[in-house]
């Protein structure tokens, strides 16, 4: 009787494991989309895209055609190449901004969650302080204060986005660290005299990392949206560098006669954010179920 129950439980665990190993078509479609987008963005200069700033006389507001697959914008520029070059801006800001936030926020969260006590309280107050102000207002204020003439806007955007992503990432890492630091293998490492640094980086970080990676994908998606919002307000990287938000903004006057000008960059942003969120969610599910099995 007892043997039968054990076998059944083992089978359930196997099925769960198999289900999670299969990430599904949607996951791979999202990965493919991001891979294509990233590839095109990185190699845009050597791929056969038109110059994204070149205006083609007589083609303003034209819809998709054989020569311009996604159509032309209000001054005749090729929307496809602008979407691709716009991806460069969005991806650079999202990836670099998130990476910086990951390093700083991750370190703060790890220290706060591991040491607890006064260190935790101090670091938590620091993190929470940045969350008091509405993020978009803080973004805009920082951008206008630090770079009113838009001379180094890309750098400032990355800096402000990273700065304001530190707290959310730090909180996630802190919570995960707290959970993992109470596990038996951590206690065992501490018992045998392992140094704090070793325990944090060798025992805890590898276990926190999976959820951190999946969360950072969601942060990246958020940064892409925020960059779009900032660009929509005319505060992102200045023209003629294409950005998706700027393209959406400049397409507004033509919405009733040429909706594709706004639709194409909006779709690109939508699918990128959807893909990042979906991949992040899927990875989170996978890592959580692995942790549950463990």
């Amino acid at each position: 009787m007892i043997k039968l129950k054990l076998r059944k439980r083992t089978r359930e665990v196997d099925e769960t494991s198999r289900t999670n190993n299969s990430l599904g078509l949607m996951f791979w479609a999202a990965v493919s989309f991001l891979a294509v987008l990233t590839f095109c963005a990185i190699f845009a200069d050597i791929l056969p895209f038109k110059n994204p700033t070149q205006t083609f006389k007589g083609f303003n507001k034209n819809g998709p055609s054989g020569s311009f697959l996604l159509g032309n914008d209000g001054v005749g520029r090729d929307i496809l190449s602008r979407v691709v070059y716009g991806a460069q801006t969005s991806l650079v800001i999202a990836v670099v901004g998130t990476s910086i936030a990951l390093i700083i926020g991750g370190s703060i969260g790890l220290a706060a969650g591991y040491y607890r006590g006064k260190v935790d309280r101090l670091l938590t107050i620091m993190l929470n302080t940045t969350l008091i102000i509405p993020p978009l207002i803080l973004f805009i204020s920082l951008i206008l204060f630090l770079d009113p003439a838009a001379e180094r806007r890309m750098f400032i955007l990355i800096f402000t986005f990273a700065l304001l992503s530190i707290a959310p990432i730090g909180r996630v890492v802190r919570a995960n660290t707290m959970a993992w630091s109470e596990r038996e293998f951590v206690l065992a490492a501490q018992t045998i005299g392992a140094r704090n640094g070793r325990v944090m980086f060798r025992e805890i970080l590898p276990n926190v990392a999976p959820s951190l990676i999946s969360y950072s994908l969601i942060v990246m998606a958020t940064l892409i949206i925020v960059e779009g919002a900032v660009a929509f307000l005319g505060l992102s990287v200045p023209s003629p560098t294409p950005t998706w938000g700027d393209m959406i903004n400049k397409g507004r006057p033509h919405l009733d006669v040429a909706p594709h000008i706004t639709l194409m960059p909006a779709l690109s942003m939508f699918l990128t954010v959807l893909s990042l969120n979906f991949i992040g969610d899927k990875l989170q599910e996978k890592f959580e179920s692995k942790a549950a099995i463990l």
Partner: protein, 624 residues
């Protein structure tokens, strides 16, 4: 199901990108689907527009006007330093507000002649150096102060003493009054005289001197009086058809004025007419044209104005709205160039410094546009016909000077550089030598609205096409309200602009005179009405012919000379002549049909501005 759809969509889009990447063609010569040219029937409006004679007259069938109703007018911009004429940076939207709460001494007649409005008669001296006006008797400001010669003199003196408007009135040597009479004395003979103080000029509007004395910024007040002055410069007290009710600054906010039952042209006034018809008028600032247009369609606004030809075109043939188009006495759209450099003996003479340096700190010395070669290169690189076609929906014309077709001084060929890439490149080589820059770096300041930004992108693209690596253009979008401030202070290289609307060139002299060109000096900020700060001795001579010679033939020839000098020296990069559109609900009537008390028809629209006293709504209800 939804998940499947999203999956399919994502996969399709991903593969469409791959396909697009692989199928992309950088060969510009392989472009297919050349746009079709469709021949359309030429309407009267189109013909008038072509000739520069679109007046914006409301020609709908005459119906009997009725009282009542509240009109909500969507306007394009808020006003910096509202609203006292001597201090306000008063553009079209501001002038519309001034027209609602006050009247000007003169008004433009339908034929382009200036006709008296608050003034009853005007007589020049034999040498045209002194003009005496008789002000209509019995008119009162909203606070009960009578409009007499002293009140007019007080208004003019506030403008004369103001650092903003003073330079424009610097030719006035004295203003004296006696009863209902005012005499203005000039340093030189004035061909147009005080008729320049018409409804196109902010200082032409009269406000209560009693109220003006409560405004701390009033330049006629002593320091002691200023300390106790507690009046609000936005709460205008004029002689107009509507009285101030409220003002909240900013985009989305409004200026509200209510019917003045004692209006001098109303049933209790001196003319016994019935003006105004509306109970209330509200001007709501909606900077973005899409917001304004959607506001009209959604019922937020009953009428809007716009100089965006692309938007005007969308309303053509739409019978759900009334569209009035006007390019008569219109403005010119341009990229204004900051040419501050060298010395200015003209403004210097007024200050006792004939060597007055225009750029003492070298703030503008890196601006390549101080060099004629660079200005010519830029002008040759711009395909203004393309700008007119693609940014003006083909319903505006490329501009070649400050005077549009139909106005005094207009010329078919002003000598302004034509679109010519080869010439542009030749001038650019000289520009690089003159400026000492390679690449030549220029900053372009524009309004923040997406349409202006996109137009600037096209201009930059044209320059890139012409000059390639030889030029670097940095475009900076600035909030609309700040643009005028930067222009006044000379803090720009090149600026997207629209100006020079007027009936007579003599109304425009202060935009172009060296006397109104102040130095660029942030340590001692000075405002200049000559925003481009250019000093052109030939222009001074030509403008004297326009301003001081009463002979119409001489004035016309002088105005043409002014136009040629703009062409020769390229003080601005002209783009298109502005077309104004007034778009309203069909319930709004008599939008532009305003007459003087004597029955003289006035110009329906002057550079986007029109009277509002005569507007009425069907059934006394603007919203229906």
């Amino acid at each position: 199901m939804a998940k499947k759809f999203v999956k399919a969509f994502a996969v399709l889009f991903a593969f469409s990108l791959i396909a697009a990447a692989c199928g992309g063609d950088s060969d510009e010569t392989a472009i297919e689907n050349e746009p079709e040219v469709v021949e359309e029937e030429v309407t009267q409006v189109e013909e008038d527009r072509e000739q520069g004679d679109a007046t914006g007259e409301d020609t709908r069938d005459d119906m009997t006007a009725v009282h009542g109703g509240r009109l909500v007018y969507g306007v394009e911009a808020d006003t910096s330093n509202p609203f006292v004429p001597y201090a306000s940076s008063c553009a079209i939207s501001c002038r519309m507000i001034l027209r609602s709460v006050s009247d000007a001494l003169f008004i433009t007649g339908a034929g382009g002649n200036i006709v008296p409005h608050l003034v009853e008669t005007i007589v020049p001296s034999a040498d045209f150096k002194s003009w005496t006006m008789a002000i209509r008797d019995g008119i009162k400001f909203h606070d009960g102060t009578p409009l007499d010669g002293a009140a007019v003199a007080y208004n003019l003196n506030t403008c004369r003493m103001s650092p903003l408007t003073g330079p424009a009135l610097s030719q006035i040597s004295d203003v004296t009054s006696d009863g209902q009479s005012v005499t203005i004395s000039y340093t030189f003979p004035e061909a147009l005289g005080p008729a320049a103080l018409n409804s196109s000029t902010q200082c032409g509007f009269m406000f209560s001197p009693t109220w003006l004395q409560t405004i701390a910024s009033n330049p006629l007040l002593t320091a002691e009086q200023r300390a106790t002055a507690a009046g609000n410069p936005t709460e205008l007290v004029g002689v107009g058809a509507f009285t101030f009710k409220s003002y909240t600054p900013g985009n989305g906010n409004s200026f509200i004025a209510t019917r003045n039952a004692d209006y001098w042209r109303g049933e209790n006034g001196i003319t016994g007419e019935e003006l105004p018809y509306l109970d209330e008028i509200e001007f709501v600032v909606s900077v973005d044209i899409q917001g304004r247009s959607n506001g009209l369609k959604g019922g937020q606004f009953d009428i809007i104005h716009t100089s965006n030809a692309d938007e005007i075109k969308k309303y053509e043939g739409n019978e759900d709205y009334v569209l009035l188009q006007a390019n008569d006495y219109g403005e010119t759209s341009m990229y204004m160039l900051n040419a501050a450099q060298g010395t200015n003996p003209y403004a210097g003479a007024l200050r006792g410094d004939p060597e007055l340096a225009m750029d003492p700190l070298g703030m503008n010395s890196t601006n390549p546009m101080i060099h004629l070669s660079c200005r010519k290169a830029a002008a040759h690189s711009l395909d203004t016909q393309r700008l007119a076609d693609e940014r003006g929906a083909g319903i505006v014309k490329p501009a070649n000077g400050p005077f549009p077709p139909g106005s005094m001084g207009y010329l078919e060929d002003t000598g302004y550089p034509k679109f010519d890439i080869a010439m542009a490149q030749t001038e650019m080589e000289q520009c690089k030598i003159d400026s000492g820059q390679d690449p030549v770096t220029v900053g372009v300041t524009i309004g923040q609205d997406p349409f202006s930004a996109e137009t600037a992108d096209l201009v930059v693209s044209m320059m890139d096409d012409a000059f390639g690596e030889d030029i670097s253009v940095v475009v900076t979008p600035i909030e609309q309200g700040q643009l005028i401030g930067l222009a006044l202070a000379g803090a720009y290289h090149v600026m997207g602009w629209r100006n020079f609307g007027g009936v007579d060139p003599s109304e425009l002299w202060y935009w172009w005179s060296a006397y109104t060109a102040s130095p660029v000096n942030p340590t001692v900020p000075e405002l200049a009405l000559n925003f481009g700060r250019f000093v052109d001795p030939e222009m001074e001579t030509a403008m004297q012919g326009v301003r001081f010679n009463p002979d119409p033939a001489v004035r016309k020839a002088s105005a043409e000379a002014v136009n040629r000098l703009f062409g020769k020296n390229v003080w601005n990069l002209w783009t298109t002549w502005t077309l104004w559109g007034l778009i309203s609900s069909p319930r709004v009537m008599d939008i532009t049909t305003f007459t003087t008390p004597e029955g003289t028809m006035t110009a329906p629209v002057v550079a986007g501005k029109h009277s509002v006293q005569q507007i009425w709504c069907q059934d006394g209800n603007c919203q229906g």
